[in-house]
């Protein structure tokens, strides 16, 4: 290949309702690598984009949550397959955005893909692990099953742009929720590429919506939105913004996954801790012998 070929650069846009629109606001912001070099203009999502994303996520909820757990698992596994094929591109974006060596960036991408596979395998085990048969003291058949909370707003981690993102998005999807994600503000590019992976992996449009931009700007609208059922504050560190968002979420009794004091090591085994906050338990009773 000729070395003087001029590369075709990508326009980084939002991923919303299964499409790749620009922000309705027309705004963009410059994304730089850790050395300050220009990488791209990312779309700067607005309040209106966030609202549109909630509508898309709500619209996709019954289809996604109503799919069989096996089907959801296969779709999520398909995402990992397509990620694997894009690993080099992800590694390049992670290296530039996070200032990692090529080797360490590749390791982060591998960990992200493996994390996604891990969550893909959870979809059809949650009911057995978290549900129960309830031996009530009477002639009733009783059981409890986990069900998704609904539409979950995810403020993705600011530093770990792909592994962190996958670590907060995977658990929300595995449980059957749909998501509105605000990406890392300064490192949004791997998220947009993940959107392209999702769009080509049989994930129904609207199940995941990725908004590049500032969590401090969009987060408050999502925290108070009446059609958002839960919010993961991972992208804020505990303190002013996190507290403000938790207070705001109280007005609609949202499930809130609090932020840690500082961004955690995303390579650690997450257990069930990021899935259970966005799962409800439904208990069902029926008489026996009547």
């Amino acid at each position: 290949m000729s070395t003087d070929r001029l590369p075709v650069r990508k326009t980084y846009k939002l991923y919303l309702g299964g499409a790749f629109p620009r922000s309705e606001s027309g705004r963009t912001y410059e994304v730089h690598d850790t050395k300050g070099h220009f990488l791209a203009n990312a779309a700067r999502a607005s309040r209106k984009d966030a609202r549109d994303a909630v509508v898309a996520a709500r619209g996709a909820f019954w289809k996604w949550s109503g799919a069989t757990a096996y089907n959801r698992g296969q779709v999520l596994y398909r995402v990992a397959e397509v990620m694997e094929g894009r690993a080099a591109q992800f590694a390049e974006e992670v290296a530039a955005g996070e200032g990692l060596s090529a080797t360490r960036a590749r390791a982060a991408v591998d960990a992200a893909i493996d994390r996604w596979v891990w969550y893909a395998g959870w979809t059809d085990k949650l009911a057995a692990v978290l549900g129960s048969s309830n031996p009530v003291a009477g002639p009733y058949f009783g059981f409890s099953t986990p069900e998704p909370t609904g539409v979950v707003a995810v403020l993705a981690p600011q530093r770990s742009s792909l592994l962190g993102l996958v670590s907060v998005l995977g658990p929300v999807l595995a449980g059957g929720n749909t998501a509105v994600v605000v990406t890392s503000k300064d490192r949004p590019l791997p998220a947009v590429t993940l959107g392209e992976v999702l769009a080509t992996s049989d994930v129904p449009g609207g199940v995941v919506n990725l908004l590049t931009g500032d969590a401090a700007e969009i987060g408050p609208w999502l925290a108070e939105h009446a059609d958002v059922d839960g919010i993961d504050l991972a992208g804020t560190t505990a303190g002013g913004l996190a507290m403000e968002l938790e207070r705001s979420a109280a007005g609609t009794v949202k499930r809130v996954l609090r932020a840690a004091a500082e961004e955690p090591d995303w390579t650690a085994d997450p257990g069930l801790t990021r899935m259970t906050p966005f799962l409800e338990t439904k208990s069902v009773w029926h008489p026996i012998g009547v």
């Binding site: 129960s132 009477g138 979420a249």
Partner: protein, 481 residues
């Protein structure tokens, strides 16, 4: 009431009670005076003053939290889990031994029929302690992580509709998982919690493990806002729950909320009408409708609407409203003048908005707080009586034509605590049950409770579960759910 069934009065005796003229707070294993202005608790059926009860001030709450912290650090935390379990077994047995006393006191202070306090509230409260007692030394097998640990001091605030039962729902899991508690009973129903304090003494429960601080909203706020409380558990209205979630935001405190509801009770055209009518009555008139999971929105398939409503009205005509201590009473007194006012206000709005009100004939007692069982027909989903929680014996009847419409209407609420489905077709029940956004679904039954069955809401009915293996997670660190 003019009823086809005439009964001679059959009142349960009050003589089993040794009611004191005044009660203090229960802190660090002893009854002590409160420093707030004492309040009076009434018998809502007669408006007679039952006793004077202390009001816990901020300083009293602080004393209680310190006692709970000491007990957590020195006694309850280090104790062998099996021994914690034995204390809870003792409490369960003591509740059973003194069951009649508790039932009579509950009916006096709350206004609920003795039939319910005797057959539901008190036995279920004992069952909750018995169930959780067994968990105390088995937590590492609960699937909640390999080494679940207690959180510390739990601050718990409970409502007036099931005073002893809600106490049991709060205290039993907290203690079984190794926490200590400061509990604030409702302002209008403090007496069974104070009798429960005597049970703690009889059980030789170490001082400070359970502290009971009576009072009103200010006392509750002091419990929730105390910096040394690690866990807040609240059952009550959604409005108060929202303010608690705001207060807890940004702190280390863990929170569970069990809030309001506006449950749909869906009756399909293939349901056996007589059974469904019994379930509708149980769904809305149990405990005078003072039930967060009450089936307050009846959704009837259009083709059987007239038949169901006629049968329901006939059945309601046989319900006996009156003396809570009478063993034949079906509906007792409304718990307070304030609650009665709220019910009246919403019922007036229901009529003003154009729904049709129906109540059975009959007289209500002259004194006390009473409201007749009430059915609204011609209700539209936009009416306030179809949206707001009335928390009284008031049923709103709506109709639907298709299963999809039933689901859409049932889910058309900000609440999501419970729901009911009546049909003879199993596959239909399971399909509808799947689509209802509610934490408990009763199919061909309603208002059943059990300590083994997790209870709690979706959406603005709150979060966290009480009961079952799932309910333990609310009180454990390192718990994975």
């Amino acid at each position: 009431m003019t009823s086809p069934f005439e009964y001679a009065p059959a009142p349960e005796s009050r003589s089993i009670l040794d009611l004191k003229p005044s009660y203090g707070l229960f802190v660090d294993g002893e009854f002590t005076d409160g420093t707030g202005a004492p309040m009076k608790t009434l018998n809502p059926a007669t408006e007679e003053v039952l006793a004077e009860v202390a009001t816990g001030s901020e300083a009293d709450v602080d004393r209680a939290v310190r006692a709970a912290r000491r007990a957590f650090t020195r006694a309850w935390g280090p104790m062998r889990p099996a021994d914690r379990g034995k204390y809870l077994f003792r409490i369960a047995r003591l509740l059973q031994e003194r069951a009649r006393e508790f039932a009579v006191l509950e009916s006096l202070d709350n206004g609920k029929p003795i039939r319910e306090s005797r057959d539901v509230d008190v036995p279920l409260a004992a069952a909750h302690f018995f169930y959780h007692a067994g968990w105390a030394d088995k937590l590492e097998h609960a699937g909640l992580g390999p080494a679940p640990r207690p959180l510390g001091v739990a601050g718990q605030v409970i409502p007036w509709n099931f005073p002893l039962l809600m106490l049991a729902w709060k205290i039993a899991p907290a203690l079984a998982t190794g926490n200590t508690v400061v509990l604030k009973p409702a302002e209008t129903t403090p007496l069974t919690a104070l009798l429960f304090a005597e049970v703690c003494q009889q059980a030789d429960l170490p001082p400070g493990v359970v502290n009971i601080v009576t009072g009103a909203g200010d006392t509750g706020r002091a419990v929730i806002n105390h910096p040394d409380v690690d866990k807040v558990a609240f059952t009550g209205s959604t409005a108060v729950g929202q303010s608690i979630a705001r207060a807890v935001a940004g702190t280390h405190k863990r929170l569970t909320l069990e809030l309001g509801g506006k449950a749909a009770n869906i009756v399909f055209d293939d349901a056996p009408v007589d059974q469904a009518v019994e379930g509708i009555v149980r769904g809305i008139f149990f405990n005078q409708g003072h039930v967060c999971c009450a089936g307050s929105r009846l959704l009837v398939q259009e083709s059987v609407h007239d038949e169901v409503v006629a049968s329901l009205q006939r059945r309601i005509g046989t319900l006996r409203v009156g003396d809570p201590l009478d063993k034949n009473t079906d509906l007792g007194a409304i718990n307070s003048a304030e609650q009665l006012e709220r019910i009246r206000e919403l019922v007036d709005v229901g009529e003003a908005e154009g729904a049709h009100r129906w109540q059975p004939d009959g007289e209500l007692p002259d004194r006390g707080f009473w409201f007749k069982p009430t059915v609204f027909t011609d209700v539209s989903p936009a009416h306030r009586i179809a949206r707001d929680e009335v928390f009284g014996p008031v049923l709103s009847v709506l109709t639907f034509r298709t299963p999809d419409e039933a689901v859409a209407k049932a889910n058309n609420t900000t609440y999501g605590l419970s729901a009911g489905v009546w049909s003879e077709k199993g596959s239909r029940i399971l399909a509808i049950t799947d689509q209802l956004r509610a934490g408990v679904v009763w199919a061909n039954t309603f208002n059943e409770f059990d300590p083994t069955s997790p209870f709690g809401g979706y959406k603005q009915s709150g979060y966290g579960r009480e009961g079952g293996r799932q309910g333990l997670a609310a009180y454990l660190k390192g718990a994975e759910q």
